[in-house]
Subunit: 344 residues, 4 copies
Amino acid sequence: MNKEIKLCMVGAGRVGKNHSRAITRHVPSGKIVALVDPSKEVREVTGKEFGIENQFDNLEQAIDKINFDAVIITTPTPTHQALASQAAENGKHVFLEKPMALNLEECDQIINSTESNGVILQLGFMRRFEPEFVNAAERIKAGEIGNPMVIKSLTHGPGLPPAWARDLKTSNGMLAEVNSHDWDAVRWLMGSNYKRVYAEIANLKGEAFNVSTPDFYDTVLVNMKFESGSLGMFSGVCPCGYGYDARMEIIGDKGIMQIGEMKGQSIVACTNRDQGLISPIYRTWPQRFAWGYIYELEHFIECIQTEKKPRVGGEDGRWAVAGVLAGTRSFREERPVYLKEILD
Amino acid sequence: MNKEIKLCMVGAGRVGKNHSRAITRHVPSGKIVALVDPSKEVREVTGKEFGIENQFDNLEQAIDKINFDAVIITTPTPTHQALASQAAENGKHVFLEKPMALNLEECDQIINSTESNGVILQLGFMRRFEPEFVNAAERIKAGEIGNPMVIKSLTHGPGLPPAWARDLKTSNGMLAEVNSHDWDAVRWLMGSNYKRVYAEIANLKGEAFNVSTPDFYDTVLVNMKFESGSLGMFSGVCPCGYGYDARMEIIGDKGIMQIGEMKGQSIVACTNRDQGLISPIYRTWPQRFAWGYIYELEHFIECIQTEKKPRVGGEDGRWAVAGVLAGTRSFREERPVYLKEILD
Amino acid sequence: MNKEIKLCMVGAGRVGKNHSRAITRHVPSGKIVALVDPSKEVREVTGKEFGIENQFDNLEQAIDKINFDAVIITTPTPTHQALASQAAENGKHVFLEKPMALNLEECDQIINSTESNGVILQLGFMRRFEPEFVNAAERIKAGEIGNPMVIKSLTHGPGLPPAWARDLKTSNGMLAEVNSHDWDAVRWLMGSNYKRVYAEIANLKGEAFNVSTPDFYDTVLVNMKFESGSLGMFSGVCPCGYGYDARMEIIGDKGIMQIGEMKGQSIVACTNRDQGLISPIYRTWPQRFAWGYIYELEHFIECIQTEKKPRVGGEDGRWAVAGVLAGTRSFREERPVYLKEILD
Amino acid sequence: MNKEIKLCMVGAGRVGKNHSRAITRHVPSGKIVALVDPSKEVREVTGKEFGIENQFDNLEQAIDKINFDAVIITTPTPTHQALASQAAENGKHVFLEKPMALNLEECDQIINSTESNGVILQLGFMRRFEPEFVNAAERIKAGEIGNPMVIKSLTHGPGLPPAWARDLKTSNGMLAEVNSHDWDAVRWLMGSNYKRVYAEIANLKGEAFNVSTPDFYDTVLVNMKFESGSLGMFSGVCPCGYGYDARMEIIGDKGIMQIGEMKGQSIVACTNRDQGLISPIYRTWPQRFAWGYIYELEHFIECIQTEKKPRVGGEDGRWAVAGVLAGTRSFREERPVYLKEILD
């Protein structure tokens, strides 16, 4: 069997818990040896649940006290660059949650620090590891539906994001926090970068949720043109009460392919002919991407063990951030925005 | 255009209404010129709804007073033989609802009187005309799934049958009144007659519905062996609160084919992630077999116009009755029953 | 029964045939008494198939020679205004295929001539009559999914449009000829007019189909903001080899609703576990909207019989044309276009 | 974290590999410390794949040489009793694959030796651990569909069973080797024992597969009456080329519930409108019950760690064997067989 990889989990919140569960139960050659979170209360709960005894306020302390191979960064976006660079400079491999960072400068710093220190950088785009997305990508690449003409994607998530994540002063809002997966996945499956982006937003639930953030929006539709000449779009809705919804659809010049469905379990019941048939829906993202979260972490461990480059890295994270910035400029200025305006 | 065919609707109840609607709205070359029902009240309602002015207590009167080409018999099973023979002897073509009759002697009388009078006899097995069943039958016959090994069918219907239809003294009960379609459809799709039949019944809802008929059963499972050596089964449940359900599944040595689904309309909604996705179910048989009822009547009219033999006739009705008799003997005597015991 | 309505079918091509079939077989109180088409060959084929003996080169001749109540106009868009006004001025009710006309002036002329002559004007938006769309609309209006936030629609059709329909000099191209249904349906289901429109187009199959029309596009994505503040989008792909595809999805603040599916028949088969399960897809629009075409024509006949205003009329057709013009200006000028720029 | 449980895998074939994979990758607190198989070649391949260095010809050697807590018995049915009793007598907990044994005497010996030695006995009925079956069972028990009236189940598997497993001299054939899961699952979900059983079999593919075993059958349909008065049925088809298929359907007096589907992955594609929509099917049982195999082994480990009785044990295995014996007698004697004939 392969060498055990020692991990430091940075962030003990929802994503930290999700990844701790995946590693502890399903990735036997990864071992979480340290847990970092500024909140003692939060880290004690997560630490207890997953048997992680070594707990620290910050990454520096963990590096000082404990021997480990890699960090898994699950903290809020504004902290990503500093943590990733700090880890890299101390020779730790980096698994970094999406969105990569707040801007392209931060992305470049992360890329540079990981590259110059010879450590692995993997981004947390779990759709790239969810079996049906993986198989669909292979089939598309093999030409099954021909040259891709249009791609559609969506991410609709149930909970109101935390305050920092919906304020455009401290984050890039829903386009980044919810739709990073769409930015990445459309680019991945189309095999082309977006060239021009147009976004429409709406704030339709803010009042009901007592959200006073001035820039808040809960609904977004993005149109895009790819460098290949093909077209794409995605939607974001958050908070979205009906469940967690992530699906894609691609039309090529030879056919169509749909990936994912809303149905979360293969049970169908009917107890009232006026109501009709009922099936479970995916309720949450850990449920929707159960295998994706396991496989992305398995892949990270395996890349460390075998000194392989991850299938999804810094450039992919940077492109998603560039899309977010273009989309945000588009709805602010009410016009289509070229990526070159952002990238140059 | 083809010659208009004049029809006498015999029976103004649920099935009579259903067929009147199909003809009036969707079979323009058929015209209902007379309506027969012993209940003045019932026939006036149906007559008014479909604009049928000539109404009679019995078929004899209609034959005396009105000129028509054919009868559509939708009355209770015990009346079938007399009405069908009477129509035939007066030169009228016969469309006869299932079950054909109470026993094989009656079936033979119907077959003989229609044949000897040179009139058409079509049985009301609408599954044979519902597009997905028709296409499936063609594909099976063309060998798509290879030699059929097992067939499964079901008919579950919502309402408690009328008293005469659940009493084994006046009818053949659910095996006949509900499952005639299964008896016919398994034989049709397998291309083979059943050779041996075993039936289990249960009375699980009778008490809740205050049914005191001694032989009442609301649940039946039938196993059968075909002359071809293949196997089959079907279930019947009636009354069945969740909707009207009729589906089939056939496994051949090269594959499987499923026909029909419970979903009655392609709408999916979710308003509560704890409840899940909801789709309409088929609520009633007129909704489930909307096209089948139209096409079987179109076919009848066309057979009259072109002097063609209907796709489903007396022999098919007789086989279904034979199956009913074998199944009934099976559950009464708690043993498998050979068709030859019934047919000889 | 209601009075028979005499109809003149104007246009004997694909749509003319489709509507002739619906009326002849399924709308008994409508009778086609005249057929108009400039091509003798085309009108003879269609006339023979549906038993229409009176055939004319143009509408004027039909009006002169034959007594009828209404016209059904199925000819190319550039002819709509002249034909509709001519019919109206002769006291004929008008059923007019989509798109209503080439521009708003023509729409106004049609509206004026029908209104001033007191005849009915119904537009051929059959989605408004297809049962699942009708039921979904009722459920949305009743508040089932709350306030609509986002609507998505699509129309992907199999065949390459005729030359006049893909040339922006003689038509408004795919946005009009294919996506008129989406323009109408999103407005109908959202209960709000679009306020701003952004369109991206692509020509990805033109070369393979030897299309030399300079403005040709086969792929379009439209984003829109409604007056209500909600968002919408639709896609168009034509020619689209995989089938005829028309589906919608609406997210409200209380839930989601999907309307329509690709599966065209409830048969599922599998004969090879490496290939998987196979179900029929809708191949053509007459198959996809079989009931919608019947019900829209039934409705038209009934409106004439009962002097009722149709559920979908001139204003709806005009809004769809306005959307087309805004969308076309958007992709030409590469910017979002406000409807007020078009309507003023 | 809980104490690591040391396991001896008995049998290195297909099932042994499947369980080794589940434990090695997904059940971190279980560790396979020994592998037993009479074939050196087979055990070396499996041992290498899962890093199991200690390999033995037979269980006795493993017990002598290695310290472990439990055995996982995946060898052919005729070996079950001896192996399970030997393990129990040496104080090892027992996870035993289905079918439990060849006859009730062997079942009793296994139950007695595990009970008298105070070790855990768990049967390998993985449907009881597959999430949708578990949830369905809870919902049925909670009364969602009311009193169960009819249950239907099926297991259709792709490969021709090995010679010993299709010969009624050395095994109980398909009813045991393939349909043990159905015998257990119908009893579990109905909450009642079967009282009477009727089975029809057929040999429809034997010739094509050159099977000369005299008793061979590849197709079976079983009908049953439960002690509760309700009815049940299941089918078995093996070899079955179209995939691995395991689904259930239960009708209660308040509704219906379907569990499982043929679709093995949520991808839908269409590249040809004449062929239609294609989705992957479950190809194999490890794919179909991926989570069930993980969870049943997690449960076994947890029962050992916490000294808990497994959710599925010796009595359940014994009832499945009793069903097999009743079914076999039924088709041999061509009559319904009461369980009391078998159990007394």
